[in-house]
């Protein structure tokens, strides 16, 4: 009964979404306020319906209803409750429903916080989001129904993929989808502005906080996925340039460009059509990612069951949504004026350069990801494009953009004087340059790549400090605290995000430069020296888990003869699926990780008490990678907590409460 209720809720949601997509749009065209007014209640109702469907699916998982195909294929009665609930979004169907829930949630949020928007604009924005919802609901209902029944019911479920039975995987998809789908708001604003023919600074002002929030979620989601890969895949990698990773990275790069471009459009009125294009691109790339992951056109680690029918559906949907919006862009964007003027050296010109680099970087990732497909489609052979390619192309492309990150926020809008900039930044440059040249000697080994990486990171730290110092100096008199408080939250958000990039670069540089990876065979009691540490392998013992059997190794870590940590790497065999999982044991410190994972027993499967193959890695400063990403995301959230948004939100909420009370 519950699954049928969910299914019914989805069908009604489709009808509501269709109404939301068509009527307000027509209303805006015909200038019919009553038709436009339908948008808000429809968006809210759609959210309630999709949330109901989602709850029904979660209920089916929680209550082990194996008569639902999706539950039978992705859960098991032995699975702990929290993973049963997380299994709701562990499958293709369920994750698509999660995507839909996010979309409905974002459009409901727009309906709440759009009181100050001109009626026609709000109606168009919500209409566009309704139309996207129609596409996804059709996709769900016709090719990927999460509530499809299994007759007769399965006696037991096939279990959730062990890789997904992990806290990181519980939160990674919701955060990532919040980001992906969040870009639909900026997309909808862009289309609404194009349709309405009004592309001005106010448009940018409205879509800016939405974009920043989506970007912050996406940043956190990607970081979580990368961290998960690091400790569960067992080989200590944190980014492999796999198509599924690239699929999330391309919207991120475009979203980053969009945030900066929106800032210029809002403050200076410039780059209008470029900003609109970026808003269209960011969401288009989110959709493209969905296609790449779920259609099976590329070989990817992602384990979604692929199905050509689904691929065809998403591609057609993609062609309509993206093709339609780009056609609209081609038709309307030419009419947009230039906006504010600025000089060759100015904050605008640097932000434009940053945008161009980010988009070139995104295009390179896209090219590298799809190139094997291009060649294959032209019958020119099969190739692989992997980390060596992306490393060779990506770092040189982005390094100049990172350098500009230090200059841009200090440069004046409109026109910056080069001598003045040089005077402000000379100390930052000197400090960063000298430390970057000397630090590698202290850390152990000098190489050009390490020096360049450290320089970029230190440059960001130093320029951020200069920026803050000059702000405080310029913020009038009064105590330090009062001067700090005089600056808006969006300013601190920007500083934090840039600081996060610096922290991230430190992590990447030092782990790439100084990591030590040893794959060794060790006997019980044997000591292995790796770097400054000594690892003692004390054998492997079996241990039961809730739904798996584990072999737990014991490894003592010593430094200068002193025991500093005992690590317990695991190998698990899951009861239901028989799949094996490696859980690395990691001793984390701010200066880096000591990472141990179990390979195979040397004597074959029976000989678990003998010698083992063990991977021992030292990963200096690796956690700075994720720390940096979370600081970036945090910066995004700080930026939207800005007073001017908060005030606006409070006003809109008050208006909403007043309106409902008056009804």
């Amino acid at each position: 009964m519950i699954p049928e209720l969910g299914n019914f809720a989805l069908i009604v949601a489709l009808l509501v979404a269709a109404t939301q997509g068509v009527v307000p749009m027509l209303g805006a065209a015909l200038n019919q306020p009553r038709m436009m007014a339908l948008a808000r209640p429809a968006a809210r109702m759609q959210f309630v319906l999709v949330a109901t469907a989602f709850a029904c699916l979660a209920w089916s998982f929680a209550s082990n209803d194996f008569s639902v195909q999706n539950v039978a294929a992705n859960s098991n009665s032995e699975l702990p409750l929290h993973y049963r609930i997380a299994a709701t979004w562990g499958s293709h169907e369920g994750s698509l429903l999660l995507w839909m829930l996010m979309l409905a949630g974002w459009s409901c949020a727009v309906s709440v916080f759009s009181r100050n928007l001109p009626g026609a604009l709000a109606a168009r924005v919500l209409s566009v989001m309704g139309l996207i919802g129609v596409g996804f609901l059709l996709f769900l209902l016709f090719t990927s129904n999460p509530f499809a029944r299994l007759i007769p019911p399965a006696p037991e479920g096939r279990d959730l993929n062990p890789l997904l039975q992990d806290p990181g995987m519980v939160f990674h998809p919701p955060l990532l989808y919040m980001g992906y789908v969040g870009f639909s708001v900026a997309f909808a604003f862009a289309l609404a502005a194009l349709i309405g023919g009004r592309l001005d600074a106010t448009w940018a002002r409205w879509s800016r906080p939405w974009t920043t929030v989506a970007w912050a979620f996406l940043t956190a989601g990607i970081a979580l996925g990368s961290g998960w890969a690091y400790y569960t895949l067992g080989w200590g990698g944190w980014w492999f340039w796999d198509p599924v990773e690239n699929a999330s990275f391309m919207p991120w790069l475009t979203g980053t460009a969009l945030i900066h471009s929106l800032a210029v459009t809002e403050k200076r009125g410039a780059f209008r059509s470029w900003t609109v294009l970026l808003a269209i691109l960011a969401f288009s790339l989110s959709l493209l990612g969905t296609f790449l992951v779920r259609s099976g056109v590329l070989t990817s680690v992602h384990a979604f069951a692929t199905d050509p029918a689904r691929g065809v559906f998403i591609l057609v949907f993609l062609a309509i949504v993206i093709g339609g919006s780009l056609a609209l862009f081609a038709w309307r964007a030419g009419a947009v004026g230039l906006g504010g003027s600025f000089a060759l050296v100015s904050r605008e010109s640097m932000l434009l350069a940053n945008n161009i680099v980010l988009i070139v970087a995104m295009a390179s990732v896209l090219l590298g990801t799809l190139y094997p497909l291009f060649l294959d489609a032209l019958d020119l052979g099969k190739i692989s494009v992997g980390p060596p390619y992306f490393d060779a192309v990506f770092y040189p492309l982005l390094a100049p953009a990172v350098f500009l990150m230090g200059v841009g926020p200090i440069a004046r809008w409109n026109r910056a004087a080069v001598p003045e900039l040089a005077a402000r930044l000379k100390w930052a440059l000197a400090v960063a340059l000298v430390s970057a040249l000397l630090l590698p000697f202290v850390l152990g080994r000098w190489s050009l790549l390490i020096a360049v990486g450290l320089f970029l990171a230190l440059w960001l730290f130093a320029t951020t400090a200069v920026n803050l110092w000059q702000r405080i100096k310029g913020s009038g008199r009064g105590s330090l605290l009062a001067r700090l408080a005089a600056n808006p939250a969006s300013y601190y958000g920007m500083l934090l995000a840039h600081l996060g990039v610096g922290i991230f670069i430190v992590g990447v540089t030092l782990v790439k430069g100084y990591e030590i990876e040893r794959d060794v065979r060790v006997d019980v009691g044997e000591r292995i020296a790796v770097g400054a540490y000594e690892f003692t392998f004390l054998g492997v013992t079996p241990a039961p888990g809730p739904n798996y059997r584990a072999l737990v190794g014991k490894v003592e870590v010593r430094r200068d003869g002193r025991l500093i940590e005992t690590l317990f790497p695991e190998k698990r065999i899951y009861n239901a699926s028989g799949q094996t999982m490696t859980i690395a044991a990691i001793d984390t410190a701010i200066s880096g990780d000591r990472y141990v994972s179990l390979g195979e027993p040397v004597g074959g499967d029976g000989a678990i008490t003998g010698a083992w193959g063990v991977r021992i890695y030292l990963k200096p400063f690796v956690d700075w990678i994720w720390l940096g990403a979370f600081v970036m995301a945090f910066g995004g959230f700080v930026a939207v907590s800005d007073r001017r948004y908060r005030l606006a939100v409070r006003r809109r909420l008050a208006a909403l409460v007043g309106a409902t009370a008056g009804e």
């Binding site: 269209i280 590329l298 065809v312 591609l315 993609l318 862009f329 030419g334 799809l370 291009f374 099969k382």
Partner: protein, 181 residues
Amino acid sequence: MMGSPAKTLRWSIPLAVFIVLVAFLWAGLGRDPHEVPSPLIGKPAPAFELALLHDASRRLAAGDLKGKVWLLNVWASWCVSCRVEHPLLLQLAKTNIVPVYGLDYKDKPEDARAWLAQHGDPYTASIIDSDGKVGIDYGVYGVPETFLIDKAGVVRYKQIGPLTIEALQQKILPLVRQLQQ
């Protein structure tokens, strides 16, 4: 609202790029990204000299087969999808159109013999590649795989995965007839 035609053209670049992209993605839907085509097509078949499955004292070399068109079928007793193509191989063997040699890949000879005794033996002769080295020379990355080799000892075709009636009728047999002339 319209801008000048030149401007509209410039703003159409993203759309044009996207249309090309969709065309490629559409083409990609019909292809299997996992399939790795063999670089050996048109090149001499790698040499081997291996013991026969049914008589370990005798050996068969690739050079012994010069002058005839033959199929090399890579199989193993542990391979599940080999059972799918097996009836087809038996049928093919009955027609005597082309001799099929079996390369028993990474297998125990006794298991392989028992498997053939149970399912039928379509092979003119079977050779044992117990450590998989010949398999590597032929670029085998999964079982079953089938190679078509011509009179001069050049690889002409490779079937990745189980043989199918379509592959046999539309590709392999026409090619065999052509090569036999």
